[in-house]
Every structure is written in C-alpha cells, then in structure tokens.
C-alpha cells in the first residue's frame, strides 16, 4: 500500500470516528435529555458549526500523528508537494464528492417538500456530507491503486 493510500485510510478512519463520537456526544448531552430539541433550528446550527472546526482539528492531529508514526516505521518523510498525478486524483475525487453532496442536498430539500420534519433535512444534509467525504476519499485510494 502506497504512503498516500495509508494517509487517506487514516483520514477516513478519523472522519468516521469523529462523526461517531460527536453524534454520540450530542445525542447523550442534548437529544436524550430533551427530544424536542431535534426540530430546533438553533440546535442544528450549533451542532454543524461545532462539528466543522472539530473535524478540521481532528484531521490535522491525525495528519501529524501519521507523519510521526510513518517516519518511525519506514524512515520516509511524507511528500510535502502534490504532483500532477495527486492533483488529478484529487480533482476526480472532488467531482465525486460534489455529485454525492448535490444528491443529498436535493433529497434534503425533497424531504421538506414532502412535509417531513425539519430534523430529517438536517440529518440528510449531515449524512450526505459525511458520505460524500468518505466515498470521495475511498475513490482516491481506488485511483491510486488501479491507476486511471
């Protein structure tokens, strides 16, 4: 497995763990105590606004830990510059991510058009954003593995 693939895999695991842990935290701290809060726009606004910087911070920490562990295990430094192949693969994965999130956005708006409760829209937005990110990263691994 290439260094980049391992790095992406670490990033995917980080994303899954972050969202999982954050969801559990939010559920136990807010929703379990007061289930009515689930349809409160203010609650969802805060939940999204906190999740974004937390997610970024976790990814930075994972990147640093990965660089240290990789240096100890293989003696190689992580490449600091992305070359043309890296950029091409990133563009392709971003395209996948955009399509998936767009699909999620339409589903979220559709849920409101069908008269569903507001939490459904937010849950679909959150879920599609997460899936778009994870699937795009998995696609990057696939592009590195099988070539393109």
């Amino acid at each position: 497995m290439e260094q980049k693939e391992k790095q992406i895999l670490a990033s995917i695991i980080g994303s899954v763990l972050t969202l999982g842990a954050y969801s559990l935290y939010v559920y136990h701290k807010h929703i379990a105590a007061n289930p009515a809060v689930i349809d409160d726009f203010k609650f969802w606004g805060k939940a999204f606004l906190i999740l974004i910087p937390v997610g970024i911070a976790v990814q930075i920490v994972i990147h640093i830990i990965f660089a240290i562990v990789n240096k100890i295990a293989t003696g190689e430094d992580i490449p600091t510059v992305d070359d043309e192949r890296d950029k091409l693969i990133e563009l392709k994965s971003i395209r996948i991510s955009h399509w998936l999130f767009t699909l999620g956005f339409f589903l979220a708006m559709g849920s409101q058009a069908l008269g569903m409760r507001p939490w459904v829209m937010f849950a679909v937005l959150l879920g599609s954003g997460f899936l778009a990110s994870v699937i795009a990263e998995a696609a990057r691994i696939s592009f590195y593995r099988r070539g393109h």
Binding site: D83, E84, R85, G147, H148
Partner: protein, 72 residues
C-alpha cells in the same frame, strides 16, 4: 472505439543510466516516487510536460522513451 495504449522504456533506461533509482528520477522531474512507479507500471499516463522532462533526464527524444499504439 480504439483504445489508446502508451508504453514506456523507463525501467530499462533507468538501468542503463547506472541503475538510477525511482526516487532519483522523481527528484529530477519534480514528482513523487509513487508517480514514477505508476508511470513505469502503466497505471498513469504522464502529462506532455512530464513526459518531456523524463525524456530530458535520459537525454533522449520523447519517442524513444514513450511509444503509442491503438488497440481495438
């Protein structure tokens, strides 16, 4: 529609250049070693600019490093 296949002689040329390593070629063409490996294995077709850079490292014209054919 015919499929474009690009092959290369990079492995042989590295050997003839005193067993130049992938990392050395990568450093001289300003890409990662993984990209050199992917080009050698036919997993990635380089841009025209990178192809010229690689040919320049070996001091050869592009057509002696890369060849092109169409497959049905």
């Amino acid at each position: 529609m015919a499929r474009c296949v690009i092959t290369n002689e990079i492995r042989k040329l590295r050997f003839l250049a005193g067993e130049m390593t992938q990392q050395q070629l990568a450093d001289r063409t300003e890409v990662t070693r993984q990209t050199v490996a992917a080009i050698e294995n036919g997993k990635y077709y380089p841009s025209l600019e990178l192809a010229f850079r690689i040919a320049q490292v070996f001091g050869l014209p592009l057509t002696e490093v890369f060849s092109f054919r169409l497959e049905e």
